[in-house]
Amino acid sequence: MVQATVKTSVRELSPNTAEPIGLLLGEACLHLCHNRLLRLATQPVMLTLELVAVVLGVVYAPAVTFGAVVGMAAIFLLLVVLYLCWHGWFIHRNRRFKTLCLHCTSRMWQLCCARCRAPVPALALWLWGAFLTHCPHCGMRLSDRKRTLLAWCSTCLKSRDRPGQFYSKPTYVIVWMTIALPVEVKGGWQRLSQKGAQEMVLYNTSRAQSTCLMYISANYRGNELPIKEHLKGQLRLLLISNDVPEEHAHLIIGHRGPRTICERVDPLGRSDEF
């Protein structure tokens, strides 16, 4: 009997380093129209009824109709302007914090529904989701607290809970060059991946001030940082164990970014926990 073995090649995704862009006016109006009441009001049948009502109102009570139409239009425009302003601030903050996907290190700023995994507009975060509480696609009730609204990476399709907290913190990259990887990790650090005995990737999202992505590498002989090129600008801390030879440490330090803090630290023991 011949067994066919299927080989799946795992292609590494190129991280998306593009920055988020602001909303257009039409997009902001479209996002607001995901609101249940506005979605109902913009159905063709309802629009026809509304037009008939306005025409009748203009004939029998022009002042009241005028006031009603102007009042409602003014509130809608006000919401559009406020949402545009908030979204611009959200994007500006995201660019400043450079939030990264912890899996593929792509830039991350989007949201998705936990059930259907379809993208959800940022309106779901504005004012704690007051104007968009339900997924526009499946109707699922979105909640940051109940983990039904997720932060979503459009590159690797991974998601994270608590998007409000996740996007409100900067993502820092830490590199630790040592001669041996730690055996166990704790203190809020979670193991993300490990490449044999050479490299380990950890993350920590429990800190209030930042989200940290740590690369621990025992491959100091390569004289290179174990991170991709686009992360070097976000490298906050470069730790080099004291047992790493000076000539290698010097070459590794040369690769650091302009805002990287560099420290020599005590080496980890064999059974050390981190």
Binding site: F66, V81, R147, R160
Partner: protein
């Protein structure tokens, strides 16, 4: 507690901003300064969105000089004393809208040979309408169609809403730059432009419904109706306009009328135009403000409440990666 002081502050601020906007010494340097700031790459990100509202303030001053045949205009109003001229410009605006729609939906429309006929008929129709409807004659008919096309831009821009929208947009942009560093400035400017054009269209369109024109307009309309021969029409429109430019700048009113009633001096005309009741304001004053506030608040509450209703299938999910 007496809140009259808030009303006084609002009215004083409004008058102050109106007075500032009326002066060339304020508006022109403001625009020039913002253009200059735009030349520096570091500041351009913040200054670029402030330029548009400042340009709106400058445009308000500049469009006063654009002549519209058959109308009296100030910085905030364009009032037609010639009914025929009004219908001419109404048709011109409608044709512009149709052209824009035709361009927008050109993929869906198979023009065929009709497109060529439109290109031929349009200018012919324009010249015929100019000769028949506008209070001009002689050599003026040759260039008045082009002048009228520029006049359409003035009709869509000029309204009492232009000044408050421009200042509001300027303050919003300043707020965005200073407090939020938001990048919504371009969209706010788009919204401001759409609002200005909608306001201009609203005021221009309402004149068709205005069955009781102000005494000045009635007087001039009466004069227009008694004109039975071409001798009463202006044959050298642009020459008269050039002659009146200093007066337009000094008095803030643009009227090119061959036989302006003797009782109405230019200063008097400006005062009477300012006293012409704003038709939308009178409609607004008829209990529309409380209705607008009530309906706006009701819509906001309903938007929030309907969204919170538990209607669909909901469940708690535990996120696992």
């Amino acid at each position: 507690m007496n809140f009259d002081f808030l009303k006084d502050i609002f009215l004083s601020s409004r008058d102050l901003l109106a007075a500032l906007s009326a002066r060339w010494e304020v508006v022109a340097p403001l625009v020039a300064t913002l253009f200059l700031l735009n030349q520096f790459a570091k500041i351009r990100r913040f200054a670029s969105c402030l330029v548009f509202p400042a340009l709106l303030l400058l445009a308000r001053k500049l469009v006063l000089f654009i002549p519209v045949s058959g109308a009296i205009s100030t910085e905030d109003r364009v009032l037609f004393w010639s009914p025929q001229a009004y219908w001419f410009f109404l048709a011109l605006v409608a044709v512009h809208v149709l052209i824009l729609l035709g361009i927008r939906f050109r993929a869906a429309i198979d023009w065929g040979a009709a497109g060529c006929w439109v290109f031929i008929a349009a200018p012919v129709g324009l010249y015929y309408a100019t000769a028949a409807l506008l209070p001009v004659s002689g050599a003026s008919i040759i260039y008045m169609p082009v002048v009228s096309l520029v006049g359409v831009a003035k009709l869509l821009l000029v309204s009492p809403l232009l000044l408050p929208i421009a200042w509001l947009a300027l303050f919003i942009q300043l707020g965005l730059v200073i407090f939020t560093r938001s990048e919504a400035g371009r969209e706010v400017n788009k919204l401001a432009l759409v609002s200005v054009l909608a306001g201009g269209l609203m005021y221009f369109g309402f004149q068709a419904l205005d069955s009781k024109p102000a005494p000045l307009i009635s007087q001039l309309q009466q004069t227009a109706r008694t004109k039975s021969s071409d001798e009463e029409k202006i044959t050298n429109f642009l020459e008269v306009w050039v002659e009146k430019l200093p007066q337009i700048n000094r008095l803030g009113v643009n009227v090119i009328e061959k036989n302006l009633p003797a009782a109405y001096k230019p200063v008097e005309v400006k005062r009477l135009v300012d006293e012409v009741p704003d038709p939308w304001q009178s409609l607004w004053a008829k209990a529309a403000i409380p209705v607008a506030l009530l309906c706006g608040a009701a819509l906001l509450v309903l938007l929030l409440l309907v969204e919170r209703l538990r209607v669909g299938d909901e469940c708690d999910l535990t996120v696992s990666e």
